[in-house]
Subunit: 214 residues, 2 copies
DNA sequence: CGAAGACTTGAAAATCATCAAAACGAGTGG
DNA sequence: CCACTCGTTTTGATGATTTTCAAGTCTTCG
């Protein structure tokens, strides 16, 4: 890793238009891929948790930004080199490849959001995010840190914050969740999963990232 | 490549629940990733054109099917092996890696659909698909083959076929497209691109696939 | 305490879904 | 060539979902 940096909440790790010089490895805190739209609204394209890598094509301007949600510690790892004279460790390449396949699986699941209702979308995102947070050791019991505002949830799901608010109230009335003060509690994980048709199988959690962090 | 196969239109190359034994390389024809939902409706998660690779985590059941849209010729390539004793060609690995990054870029773009209106979604899909088809040599002038029905378009965009129909009529009235008989014409590519806020930069087209096919 | 951001609420309007039926088109067999 | 069928496209009417706008309340934090 070339460097380790720290950055405050709600700042850019990389801006739209920049050409990434490496892969961003999140060491601590929450980050996201975030696109600014012409009308000023934002669209969140991915959530990055500790251990996650933001890998983008090298030498190409990003068409979105990579931003912190909370304070973030991160590292910038040079892009791997696959040429004849590669000096990369094979197990590093293997970990990277698995990671990328996992990322693709998560992205497919987000694409499936297009066919889901507001309630399903939000429920699915909460299930996924909780599961991922849990695997980074960020959850205890049925509870985890959750630094997204309802506005952020709206940017994730492509809904308005007003509708997110009402849908969350609906979920609370259904006794599925608690959500306040940057903290999420799954009161009925199974019920929520059912509402979201959530099946965690697409989430694999090899501790590849830990090898990279070490 | 272990084998080359041919399959009729609207058949499964791989079914949900199967564990893929390799990567599906499309040689000819159109294919898709397709999820069957509980209520019977389908959701199209990706379109696969000649030269495209469907790569999934090995040894894990697919949570969706890979199906043909038209008649398809394809090959099944063993998953790459990254161990110490890897026997893969470095340029093969490099091509594979670039391919996967490209796929991730396209997927991010589809995720952005969550924040788009029906008109934008459809316009964006048409732009992207035309651009990709063009790069496979499947387009001439502003015209290309387009084997998706309006029902398929609905499955891609997460809309109903009725609404897709009305939106297409709207586009025709705007003089942007012609679409009938499995053929798409972009009458005003720029106008359509503008309506979709489409920027082709995320599509890179290294002829990597050709190296794989050869 | 004050200010800024986040959350909540209500009413009206736009978008999109649902249901049902009709028109169109391509292919098949008589 | 015609009649028939099947899938696709088109149309209309109605209803649900979601957005928009605007205002109010609640938290958090300096």
């Amino acid at each position: 890793m070339t460097s380790r940096k720290s950055i405050a909440a709600r700042q850019d790790l990389a801006r739209e238009g920049e050409k990434p010089t490496g892969m961003y490895l999140i060491l601590e805190g929450w980050a996201m891929r975030c696109r600014q739209r012409a009308d000023g609204s934002r669209q969140i394209l991915a959530i990055l948790l500790p251990g996650d890598l933001a890998i983008d094509p090298p030498h190409r301007p990003l068409n979105h930004a990579i931003c912190s949600l909370t304070q973030v510690r991160y590292g910038l790892i040079p892009h791997p080199h696959f040429g004849e004279d590669t000096s990369e460790l094979p197990e590093f390449m293997a970990a990277l490849w698995r990671r990328q396949l996992e990322t693709a699986s998560i992205q497919l699941e987000w694409i499936a959001n297009n066919g889901r209702s507001a309630y399903e979308r939000i429920a699915h995102f909460l299930c996924e995010t909780y599961a991922r947070a849990r695997c980074c050791g960020l959850a205890s019991g049925n509870e985890c840190e959750f630094p997204l505002t309802q506005q952020d949830l709206a940017s994730v799901t492509g809904l308005t914050s007003v509708h997110v608010n009402r849908t969350l109230q609906h979920m609370r009335k259904d006794g599925l969740i608690e959500l306040h003060g940057k903290r999420l509690v799954l009161l009925k994980p199974d019920g929520l999963g059912q509402a979201a048709t959530f099946d965690a199988a697409y989430l694999r959690w090899p501790p590849a990232a830990r090898a990279l962090v070490a």
